[in-house]
């Protein structure tokens, strides 16, 4: 294996990528494989499968982004977890360590939400400037990279007990598209990673490496080319630009807290949908008084988090839902767009379980007394599912700079979010369906559980055909700054009903292709 590269701060020929998750980590490897010199700035540390801890709170302490953030809006998270709007990861590999592995392609109609859903009052819908046909080859590559089950000849995972309850109830209600999902978790050995051992704790990092994560695939493979240097504990502070309006480098605080400046030929921002707009907003200048690449005023706007929620059912006998793959189970029938249900867009239902410590924290935050504790008393007899639906982009659901500062003196992100009526109608529909599913299997009690702090953070630097409607073009390139790219879920124009990681990875592979071509042509 070649030694990982080491580049000089003054080397202005490198591409700097901020963030190393499903977007930044994949982009870094893809560029490095093509011979592009890359420096990744990652705010977190390095943890590999042997470091992951199968204990919910201890793992949270190890991996989660717990730097300050502030919240506002009427979402319940702002009340119950006011400083923790998201459950995402601060580490090399980013939230690809934490994700559950569900890898679904967008449905064709979801690329054109504005066209297909029509006018939705209060929603800021827009069509993506790309579509399913354009994305198909990139999805193919992404699925092969991640080893997604149920496609490419790869068998699906076996269903655990939680899935069996879910499947039986779903089929009793007449649902047809019910299976263990398209999962980036190996059902058989694949790409030098072993198969799933049904251990649970998918959210805490897969200790077997059976689940794909950039932390132990794309990152080390990129480093092995000799073209990639990953600097951990490197907290990006500000992107700099020249008088011509081209970005020239990134200022960051290194592991010792010293401010450094890495020069760059090109900068890609992939810090998740809170940190990416925060970095652009914190990079304001005389030329960009409202934030870098923000002539449209769209940076930070249209924050989406998926319409989520959970349903737990209690049964007469044990289920032991925590045993086995956390999210290998899906019902796709409700993912269709069918306004007759009282809302536009659709939702997926996916199996989910939490361990006892997190169940206590998230089942009904703030609740106490016997209604709450008798539910936990039946923990062993619980089955669980998660709702993932398309939420409406709204201009005022947005990330702005808070008055609060982090330990580096940088203004932190404030996340303002309120549900759209469409989100509420969808969630209520899904609660009813989820509870009906469990009652079909004899549930003695069902619980419509509120959304957790967000893991699907989308849309704060959205992609648009016209510069006035969004932040980046169809290649993730800033409308305002030619050598600045957005490479994470913040570029999503709309959220679709599907878990976003596969699409983030596919967009990153596609973007790497575009950047390498533009570099070769001398355009950037």
């Amino acid at each position: 294996m070649a030694q990982a590269a080491k580049f000089e701060l003054s080397d202005s020929s490198v591409t700097v990528i901020v963030g190393s998750g499903s977007g930044g980590g994949v982009l870094a490897n893809e560029l490095a494989q093509k011979g592009v010199k890359v420096v990744v700035l990652e705010a977190g540390g390095r943890y590999l499968p042997e470091d992951y801890v199968n204990d919910e709170w201890e793992s949270f302490g190890q991996l989660a982004w717990t730097d300050p953030r502030t919240t506002s809006g009427d979402w319940r998270v702002a009340k119950d977890f006011s400083g923790l709007p998201a459950w995402i990861v601060k580490a090399v590999g980013g939230t690809s360590i934490h994700w559950a592995g569900a890898s679904l392609r967008f449905q064709d109609h979801e690329w054109k939400a504005k066209t297909n859903y029509g006018v939705v009052e209060g929603a800021n819908l827009l069509d993506w400037p790309i579509d399913g046909a354009e994305m198909q080859p990139w999805y193919d590559k992404a699925e092969a990279k991640l080893g997604v089950t149920g496609v490419g000849g790869r068998p699906r995972l076996p269903g655990n007990s939680n899935y069996k309850v879910f499947e039986k109830g779903a089929k009793a209600l007449g649902y047809k598209e019910v299976h263990t999902g398209n999962m980036a978790i190996n059902s058989v050995d694949y790409d030098e990673r072993m198969s799933c051992q049904q251990t649970g704790f998918c959210f805490q990092g897969c200790k077997w490496g059976a689940k794909w994560s950039a932390a132990y695939t794309d990152i080390p493979r990129g480093e092995a080319t000799g073209n990639l240097e990953v600097r951990d504990h490197a907290h990006a502070a500000r992107i700099l630009h020249d008088d011509a309006g081209k970005v020239t480098g990134v200022e960051y605080f290194d592991k010792d807290g010293n401010l450094q400046m890495q020069k760059a030929r090109l900068v890609c921002v992939a810090g998740n949908s809170f940190e990416s707009p925060r970095l652009l907003l914190n990079s304001h200048s005389t030329m960009f008084p409202d934030g870098l690449a923000n002539r449209s005023g769209q940076v930070g706007r249209n924050y989406m988090r998926h319409t989520t929620g959970s349903v737990y059912g209690v049964f007469e006998k044990p289920v032991r839902m925590w045993r086995g793959t956390t999210m290998a189970g899906i019902i796709r029938d409700e993912a269709r767009h069918d306004p007759a249900r009282g809302f536009v867009g659709g939702y997926e239902l996916e199996t989910l379980s939490l361990g006892l410590p997190f169940m206590a924290a998230f089942l009904d935050p703030g609740a106490w007394g016997r209604e709450f504790t008798t539910a936990l008393d039946s923990y062993e007899n619980m089955a669980g599912m998660w709702i993932v639906g398309e939420d409406m982009p709204q201009a005022d659901n947005r990330v702005t700079l808070s008055d609060t500062e982090d330990s580096f003196g940088l203004k932190v992100a404030n996340v303002n979010f309120s549900d759209h009526p469409n989100d509420i109608a969808m969630r209520n529909h899904a609660y009813k369906v989820g509870q009906a599913i469990y009652r079909e299997v004899g549930a003695t009690r069902t619980m419509p559980t509120p959304p957790y702090p967000s893991t699907h953070n989308l849309g704060t630097n959205r992609m648009s055909e016209k510069p006035e409607d969004g932040v980046v073009n169809k290649n993730g390139q800033s409308h305002d700054v030619a050598n600045l790219f957005i490479s994470d879920g913040s570029q999503f124009t709309t959220g679709a009903a599907e878990n976003p990681t596969l699409t983030i990875v596919a967009l990153a592979i596609r973007q790497a292709d575009h950047i390498a071509r533009e570099m070769a042509a001398g355009n950037v």
């Binding site: 049904q198 045993r323 006892l356």
Partner: protein
């Protein structure tokens, strides 16, 4: 006579059992971890009445009849500190006042859980109550020794996961 006193959780019980003061640690993410379930609360900063009240509050906030007092004791032990002393005194005085207003001598004198819960409802918006409740979420449920009472098995990696140990063993469907 309070339930606690009937159970013998009196000064003698509170003071006589050894407890390693260092067994409780508040970790960086705000949860309390206890390496073992040995309990007994030796009070040095708060009164026995206050500690007995804290214990009963913990039971009434998150009542699990199969979870012994020792686990609740661990979860509230950290309130016996110089830093917490004033807040505990003020909070429990307010609670006992609410109990008096409801016709009881104090909180512990209300014999039925429903009666105590009605008193707690009167103070549930206070910082004291919310801090206690919030701390219990991790202080109680993150004790590994509590998990088996709920059937929760914790990590399975060290045993090779459940692939050969019943991940799909449901037999009643």
């Amino acid at each position: 006579m309070s339930e606690l006193s009937k159970q013998g959780l009196t000064r003698r019980a509170l003071l006589s059992r050894a407890v390693a003061a260092g067994a409780l640690a508040v970790a960086g993410t705000g949860f309390i971890a206890a390496p073992d379930a040995a309990w007994a609360v030796e009070v040095t900063h708060v009164s026995e009445h206050q500690m007995a009240t804290l214990l009963q509050m913990a039971r009434d906030i998150y009542p699990h009849d199969r979870v012994g007092d020792r686990f609740y004791a661990i979860a509230v032990k950290s309130y016996d500190s110089a830093e917490q002393k004033a807040a505990v005194a003020e909070g429990i005085a307010a609670l006992d006042k609410a109990a008096k207003d409801a016709g009881f001598e104090d909180y512990l004198s209300a014999g039925w859980e429903d009666e105590r819960v009605a008193i707690l409802r009167k103070i549930e918006e206070t910082k004291f109550f919310q801090t206690l409740r919030g701390g219990l979420v991790t202080g109680l449920y993150n004790q590994k020794e509590v998990w088996p009472i709920f059937g929760y098995e914790g990590e399975s990696f060290s045993k090779g996961g459940y692939i050969d140990r019943g991940f799909d063993a449901i037999d009643w469907l």
